[in-house]
Amino acid sequence: MSATVGEVEAEATVADREPALVVNQLTKRFGERTAFSDVSFEVAHGEVFGFLGPNGAGKTTTVRTLGTLIAPTSGSAIVAGIPLSPANGVEIRQRISIMPESPGLYLRLTVTENLEYFAGLYGLRQPAQRIASALAAVNLGDRAGDLCGGLSKGLRQRVGLARTLLSDPVIMFLDEPTSGLDPVAAREVHNLINQLRERGVTIFLTTHRLEEAEKLCDRVAILNTTLRSIGRPEELRERLFKGGLTIKTRVPLSDPEQLFSPIPGVDAWSSERPGFYLLSVSDPEVAAPEVTRRLVGAGADVLAIGEARHSLEDVYLELIDEDVEAQR
């Protein structure tokens, strides 16, 4: 008996509410070496999830494990609604797509022939339409007949992206998609990922380009064999760093200690160069007006005052430095 439209819609709604990816205490060891350990997180449908970490942190191995290319040592995961297990490998791979760091195209075949091959492997109906639509999505419609061997690295990367789009996957795993690309080509890939986000595609993006993660990702996880932190970039900043105010004066203050220390809400101050001051405050919005009043009252020539912004890079480096310190 076939399901009614209402039942199908209800099932779809439930599926949408469930995370696209659930990872629970997943661990992978190669003999004595631990690739990643005790990793747990969830990725919602339509989310762009950044997976950051230094080289050798276990990012690619995590992707390969979730993509059923390699078996986890322990832990569990649900990928696109299907429990991760060797028996479910084909079904999981049918629902996801992975773009490895190198697109791995057949250079003697044309762009279309490469995509035809993969359309065949996914058993897609109306492959010609799907190929045309995937190529249009990556703005490669006019290069469909070109041999892949003749394409630039950036264009090959776009073909790789088109290939991951072919099967209309529940989750796209993009492993370092801008690795080795020049800034222009990398920006094109960023634009494509943004377009995919607008279409509601769930993307799992591994990268060590922090500005890329900050620009593209809804949430990020920082991995260094174990999961060090997870959340929205601004959440990670708030979690790791106290608020701060930056002050720039035309002439260095004669006695900054006497000026800043008595201000309520100012916990500490520092100055790396004359005329520049960084105040550590519990709430920048509360402290800023009083700091401004005190500076003006002291006759300081204030050129600028603003909230100190910590980048994702600061968060990342702080966490990775902690690991380096712990290993010493």
């Binding site: 390969r64 390699i70 322990s74 697109p103 075949l109 091959y117 993969f118 065949g120 058993g123």
Partner: protein, 245 residues
């Protein structure tokens, strides 16, 4: 577990396309069989009816059996390690393609041109003998019943053997050149049998031909299953063997 014919077909189509685009592959496939035509042609056209013996033609015809062994060995040996070297294996393994489908597709893609070339060469040789050779010698050649049967019967079986050995080497090898050199080992048993028949240790009869064919069929089927089991995604991607949790 059912194999998906569409996925196997996709692998075969892509492989044949890839061969056609690489002239060196086509050239190698055509030149090797041509080389194996030289000795049988000399035996037929330089022998006089008074001096030629049945043994002369027997060995010459048996040498043609090396064509379906040697032609596919380099292609099969390249099949997996080649994909690995050019970085196309990992994307392929991320698709729903099962390992058995991959192996079957690769094997079929090597088998098709091998059979076409081998039978074309046999047909060409016999046709030329029929039309241009001395009628007595032509009659001697066409009276080698068990050998002619072996040519037709053994060709797919020997090609299957060479392909399975080549794929086994390819799944395990870390480098294309090593795989292709080791893949040539598949021709040694065939060469051995030809030599044994040539020196009269084994007498080719219909019974012997049928027994060899049955034995080869069993070996091919078992060996192909072993190759499928040797295909370990984890080892191919990371170099480390998968360990059960």
């Amino acid at each position: 577990m059912a194999l998906n014919a569409a996925r196997v077909g996709a692998v075969v189509r892509k492989e044949l396309r890839d061969y056609r685009r690489k002239r060196s592959i086509v050239a190698t496939m055509v030149i090797l069989p041509a080389v194996f035509l030289i000795q049988p042609s000399l035996a037929v056209f330089l022998s006089s009816p008074s001096t030629a013996t049945a043994q002369t033609f027997r060995v010459s015809l048996l040498l043609l059996l090396l064509i379906p062994v040697i032609t596919p060995s380099t292609l099969a040996a390249y099949a997996v390690v080649g994909e690995r070297e050019q970085g196309t294996l990992e994307p392929l393994l991320t698709t729903p393609l099962r390992r058995q489908e991959f192996i079957l597709g690769k094997a079929a893609a090597v088998m098709i041109p091998t059979l076409a070339l081998s039978y074309a060469v046999f047909g060409l040789f016999l046709g030329v003998v029929r039309v241009f050779a001395n009628p007595t010698i032509a009659s001697d050649v066409f009276h080698q019943g068990p050998i002619l049967l072996a040519l037709f019967l053994f060709t797919p079986l020997l090609a299957g053997w060479a392909i399975v050995v080549g794929l086994a080497v390819s799944v395990r090898a870390s480098e294309v050149r090593v795989a292709q050199q080791l893949g040539m080992l598949a021709s040694l048993p065939t060469l051995g049998v030809v030599i044994l028949m040539g020196v009269g240790v084994i007498t080719p009869t219909f019974t012997v031909a049928a027994a060899f064919a049955a034995g080869l069929l069993v070996i091919d089927v078992r060996a192909s299953r072993i190759v499928s089991r040797m295909f370990d995604r984890e080892r191919l991607i990371t170099g480390a063997k998968a360990v059960e949790p």
